[in-house]
Amino acid sequence: MIELPALGWQSIVIFVVFALSLLIATYCTYAERVIAAFLQDRVGPDRAGPYGLLQPLADAVKMFTKEEFFPGGANKALFVFGPCLAMITALMSSAVIPFGNNMSFGNNAFFLQGIEVNIGMLWVFGVVSLGVYGVMIGGWASNNKFSLLGAIRAASQNISYELAMGMALIAVLMISGTLSLREITLQQSVAGEWHTWNIVKQPLGFIIFLVCAFAETNRTPFDLPECETELVGGYHTEYSSMKLGLYLFSEYVNIFVVSAVMSVLYFGGFNFPFQYELRDWFVNSQGWELASAQNLITLLGTVGLFLKIFAFIFFFMWIRWTLPRFRYDQLMRLGWTILIPLAVFNIVLTGGLILAGVI
């Protein structure tokens, strides 16, 4: 009899992370409109509920009750499978992200993380590279030229930017010496030392990763797969009702996950400034037990991580409503002739600095 690991506290953590990703993705649709309205000096959604807070709910009701349309000549099974796959791959990568340090109650200690594996970074990278299948399959199964073009664009764009993204990750790996996201987070804050988050050591790598993250999540200025000025609606031209909803939704889940990954890799994850001083203050001045002080710090760290994530999500939306879209050949040139050489240079530079003992 095998013991299922999903029956312990991990299942609770995974369930909470799952629910949180969906909740955050839901309110991203609201935040996107509010931020768009703010940046364009408009009012934005304010009809449904106070400050329009019930707008996502109204949208969901609309999506669910709309007509479900299958285009003629479409491959029905794959047409349904596409959006499902997009959603599954979007939700999968949050399993390995450390949302908090360890907590302990008596003798029971647990991590605020779904699964702690020593290939966490590779897992995220692998799942991100699978994300394109949902778009490709949906676009192809629609039996529509514009959808197919959107799918092809998505595939070539993702493959091109994955390379630079992977090489940016390699530079992080060279510094940390581990693929475990928890280890990488813990290394970014050593007690009694100045907080050296990886952004300090890897500014160039972070910029490369950020640009690639925009391309991998199909966000403006790289949203060529759904470029409505050229391709009607791109890969989801033929989609309606909740299947379209799943595509739009998976984009926001992807943004959430990629923001979390960037926070963990470059911005210290669940670490926040003066955490050890704060813990010692609780223990020494307030007379708390070490374990309960540590639990409080862990919870504060989780809040800090989410603040970082929200800052990144805001950044994604800010960019969307500020920059126009690239042309397709510009996108390819940026990926292959600028980002990849820069990423190789970054690896060499990191290696040199490590040898010189600077970082």
């Binding site: 095998i2 020593n118 990278f125 590279s129 699978l130 490709m136 197919l148 994955e162």
Partner: protein, 169 residues
């Protein structure tokens, strides 16, 4: 045998059969991706996490995307597929069958040597152990393989280079 192993083997064999028997080439590619996933599951059962992740990234994440890409462009349908003559089909079946026969005959008496359950290092599949092994015991093959990749990359760049006077847009 653990139930997980049986399940993964079942999925792997079924999806591998699906690759061969699916009429639609896109379905074939999707079955092949499922096969790679179940193979990665096997690697995980063997405690080879790095290999499992790299298998997903390289094969399922990159190579199969390009496969799907090409097949979508070709727009292969059952109607447009040319039917091979019966002789070619029989010859293919005989050749494939004899290869299977030889493989089974060669492998059925194999006893793995050099590894015992007690002396086996169960951590060998972890990424740091694997890296150490590659860069100490297998340094030359590793470097030769990277030269091969370099040659392939240069070749791809050569093929994709713009000819003199050619304009694409």
């Amino acid at each position: 045998m653990s139930p997980l192993f049986l399940f993964l083997s079942f999925v792997a064999l079924l999806s591998a059969l699906g690759v061969v028997f699916a009429k639609n080439p896109v379905h074939s590619v999707l079955f092949l991706i499922l096969t790679f996933f179940s193979l990665s599951g096997h690697y995980l059962l063997l405690n080879a996490q790095f290999l499992a992740a790299v298998n997903i990234i390289v094969y399922a994440g990159a190579i199969m995307v390009l496969f799907l890409f090409v097949i979508m462009f070709l727009n292969l349908n059952v109607d447009t597929e040319p039917h091979k003559p019966a002789l070619a089909k029989i010859a293919a079946a005989v050749a494939g069958g004899s290869l299977l026969l030889i493989l089974v005959a060669a492998l059925k008496d194999v006893h793995p040597v050099g590894v015992t359950g007690t002396a086996f290092n169960s951590q060998i599949g972890m990424v740091d152990q694997l890296g150490l092994k590659l860069y100490t015991d297998y340094l030359l093959p590793f470097e030769l393989a990277s030269v091969l990749f370099l040659v392939a990359m240069v070749g791809a760049v050569m093929l994709g280079k713009r000819e003199v006077g050619e304009r694409n847009f």
